[in-house]
């Protein structure tokens, strides 16, 4: 099963490499990973999506918690949560039909065209990973020149927060 694990950790050199190293060392899988400082500059928030059965995910959260730099760990998928990923996708758009098709599909997915040249469109899209996948599928891969995705960020619904 897919899990979104959020980690609050010390914003210190080497902290990220300990987290990434842990995953490779213990043969845990990483689907995506994002990290950035929080409003408290001494803390970073890292979000990792991973796939594993209950035993593996329990080990992942326990092993993450053991890292000295890690302050808190939460498996967001255990409760109601929001997940968002940003994608920028550059596509061949060299005739009217294709341009109209991309524009229409982007509108349906609530995407924005953020760069235009005579031969290309670059679309920005925000949503869950599966929505982003669906957009790529809807357009077909033949016109895609480049895809860049931010990896998943997640936050719990309601009043639950991950802070110190």
């Amino acid at each position: 099963m897919r899990h979104i694990i959020s980690v609050l950790m010390e914003n210190e050199p080497g902290a990220l490499s300990r987290v990434v190293g842990l995953f490779s060392q213990r043969n845990f899988n990483i689907e995506s990973l994002t990290v950035a400082p929080t409003e408290d500059e001494t803390l970073s928030r890292l979000t990792v999506t991973t796939i594993g059965d209950d035993r593996v995910v329990e080990q992942i959260t326990k092993q993450l918690n053991k890292l000295i730099d890690v302050v808190k760990v939460v498996d967001l998928t255990e409760g109601d949560h929001l997940e968002r990923e940003l994608m920028m996708i550059k596509m061949k758009a060299n005739n009217g039909t294709v341009r109209a098709e991309i524009k229409r599909t982007a509108d349906i997915f609530r995407g924005t065209i953020i760069d235009v040249t005579p031969n290309t469109f670059t679309v920005q899209l925000v949503g869950s990973s599966s929505k982003l996948d669906a957009f790529i599928e809807a357009l077909g891969t033949s016109n895609i020149m480049e895809v860049v995705r931010s990896g998943v960020s997640g936050i719990a619904r309601g009043e639950k927060v991950l802070t110190l």
């Binding site: 050199p13 490499s17 035993r55 326990k62 053991k66 000295i68 110190l164």
Partner: protein, 573 residues
């Protein structure tokens, strides 16, 4: 406030931490620190002949005392030579602080002379590591390093210090912190009372219980609490390789080591048990054998200070996170307060069964199939000559298993071996580390002619510091454990397991100024061993010729259950 250079702060902080010995080897990146060592007398430096030995000495000191040992190695090759020792400590959860020199800050990343990214190299084998960025932070980093190494589930900590952090001419205010507080690191100090209650109910309802304990009881200083609880309940106790000495080895409730080379009765009792109380043990693959067949009828209570050890390989029915000492103490109080006692009839039947197993195989080996001395006989003699009271530091291989099986440890912290990593070459430096700190105690290195050659250069360190350890070398002229597996699984094709051109160990040790005794017949063994131990102030190397064809039994059948064992070359369960 006193002004000190970074180099002086390193040495002063170690002194203020109560460190007596540091084990190390100098080099370019450490010259400022070595100069600071030279100008004081409180912290004594022990110069090894290879950095690996420094880490093993520090490690063994920690195993014997529970306090972090300290190693000091230079950048690059000095640091990488220490890697095996750090990994050894990590696998066995041993507290250790390893200070590594580093090239000057401005050269880091430029492939400078003797540069290695030691933080990166050591990352998977440390509990934590620090890289010093400013000299002023040295006291706090060293305090934190000791705190992290020794608390919770212990482990090695690396402190990497670029040379320019120790410049003698730059001085800073020095104050050693009395304590440290870290928001992200708060080791647990007691177990959950409700969980302990559940465990006690299960313990008292058990009909075929086994108490299975590991290194967590030794490093957690919980041997007394374990013994008191086990004796209150009257339940059988088995120890892992790392846990030997946690429960008195000669007590009738002790059923031996368990696992791959565990006793017949311990493995049988585990397999047939209905309730296992696991304390400070991690259900390692050398204990469980095939996890899918592991103890099919047992409910499991697992006490461990590290939550990640619980339900990692074997699911626990009642997990209890906490230090072994505190949890066992509370458990005993609850058992004593309980209205119920263990079921006497069930326990009578269970003990009868265990005694039957014990009588059927318990600690058996043949002496009549060869004229040569059996390695087991040597260990039994060692146990007799030292009254089971020595610090036994072992290398890795058949001799290690024989020592674990036949030396009866009645006290904790006296069996010192590389259990998790299985590091050949550990034994001699480990014995040195213990002997320097316990000069009045008998300290023995049990080794083989293979392992001893992996750190044989330390015979020189022994001369320099007069460390009168006794080496018991079980010489079977082959890498015995490799050979045993080749006998059992590769139709005796002894690929590279035969040691040709062994040195004349007598001449070798004599050249370093030590005493060598060669023993070839069993009749001479006791006399020779007593003679060796009578030489209190000399290092004695006993080269003892043993049967090269002997195997370690019992041996579990791979991927089987705990009860699937070879009991000799021809019998299996």
């Amino acid at each position: 406030m006193e002004l000190l250079s970074g180099a002086e702060m390193v040495v002063r902080a170690l002194r203020d931490e109560g460190v007596k010995y540091i084990y190390g080897y100098p080099g370019g990146a450490l010259l400022h620190i070595y100069d600071a060592i030279f100008t004081q007398e409180e912290v004594e430096h022990v110069l090894v002949r290879h950095e690996q030995a420094a880490t093993h000495m520090a490690d063994a000191y920690a195993r014997a005392t529970g306090k972090a040992g300290v190693a000091l190695v230079t950048s690059g090759p000095g640091a990488t030579n220490a890697v095996t020792g750090i990994a050894t400590a990590y696998m066995d959860s041993i507290p250790m602080v390893v200070i590594t020199g580093q090239v000057m800050s401005h050269l880091i990343g430029e492939d400078a002379f003797q540069e290695t990214d030691m933080i990166g190299v050591s990352r998977p084998i440390v509990k934590h590591s620090f890289s010093v960025q400013r000299p002023e932070e040295i006291p706090e980093i060293i305090k934190k390093a000791f705190h992290i190494a020794e608390s919770g589930r212990p482990g090695p900590v690396v402190v990497d210090i670029p040379k320019d952090m120790t410049t003698p001419t730059e001085r800073y205010e020095y104050e050693y912190p009395k304590s440290v507080k870290m928001r992200s690191y708060n080791p647990i100090s007691k177990g959950h009372t409700g969980q302990i209650k559940k465990a006690v109910d299960m313990l008292l309802a058990a009909k075929r219980p086994v108490i299975y304990t590991g290194g967590g009881v030794i490093m957690g200083n919980a041997s007394q609490e374990l013994t008191a609880l086990a004796q209150e309940l009257g339940y059988p106790v088995t120890n892992t390789l790392m846990g030997l000495g946690g429960y008195p080895g000669t007590d009738k409730q002790f059923i031996g080591m368990l696992g791959m080379h565990g006793s017949y009765e311990a493995n049988m009792a585990m397999h047939h048990s209905d309730m296992i109380l696991a304390v400070g043990a991690r259900f390692d693959d050398r204990v469980t054998n095939g996890t899918d067949k592991f103890c099919p009828t047992a409910k499991i209570v697992h006490i461990d200070i590290d939550p990640a050890s619980i339900s990692k390989t074997i699911k626990a029915d009642v997990p209890i996170v906490g230090p072994a000492q505190a949890v066992l103490k509370e458990m005993l109080e609850q058992v004593q307060a309980a209205k119920k006692a263990p079921c006497a009839d069930s326990m009578k039947l269970w003990w009868e069964q265990i005694e039957e197993w014990r009588a059927r195989h318990g600690g058996r080996y043949k002496t009549d199939d060869s004229e040569l001395m059996k390695p087991q006989q040597v260990i039994e003699m060692l146990s007799k000559v030292t009254n089971g009271d020595a610090y036994v530091c072992s290398d890795v291989g058949q001799h290690q298993m024989f020592a674990a099986q036949y030396y009866k440890f009645n006290k904790p912290n006296r069996w010192i071996n590389s259990g998790g990593l299985g590091t050949m070459g550990f034994g001699l430096p480990a014995a040195m580390g213990v002997k320097m700190n316990f000069p009045e105690e008998e300290v023995v290195c049990v080794t083989g002619e293979g392992s001893i050659q992996m750190n044989i250069q330390e015979l020189s360190t022994i001369s320099q510091y007069d460390i009168p350890v006794k080496v018991i070398c079980l010489n079977n002229q082959s890498l015995g454990m490799v050979r045993q597996w080749q006998d059992m699984n590769y139709e005796s094709r002894h690929s590279q397991s035969y040691m040709k051109s062994l040195p004349d160990f007598m001449k070798l040790v004599e050249s370093y100024g030590h005493v060598g005794i060669k023993v070839e017949r069993y009749e001479d063994l006791e006399g020779a061993m007593r003679e060796a131990f009578a030489m209190k102030d000399r290092m004695v190397f006993m080269d003892i010729a043993v049967d090269p064809f002997e195997h370690v039994y019992p041996m579990q059948v791979p991927r089987g259950s705990m009860r699937d064992m070879w009991l000799s070359k021809t019998e299996r369960t």
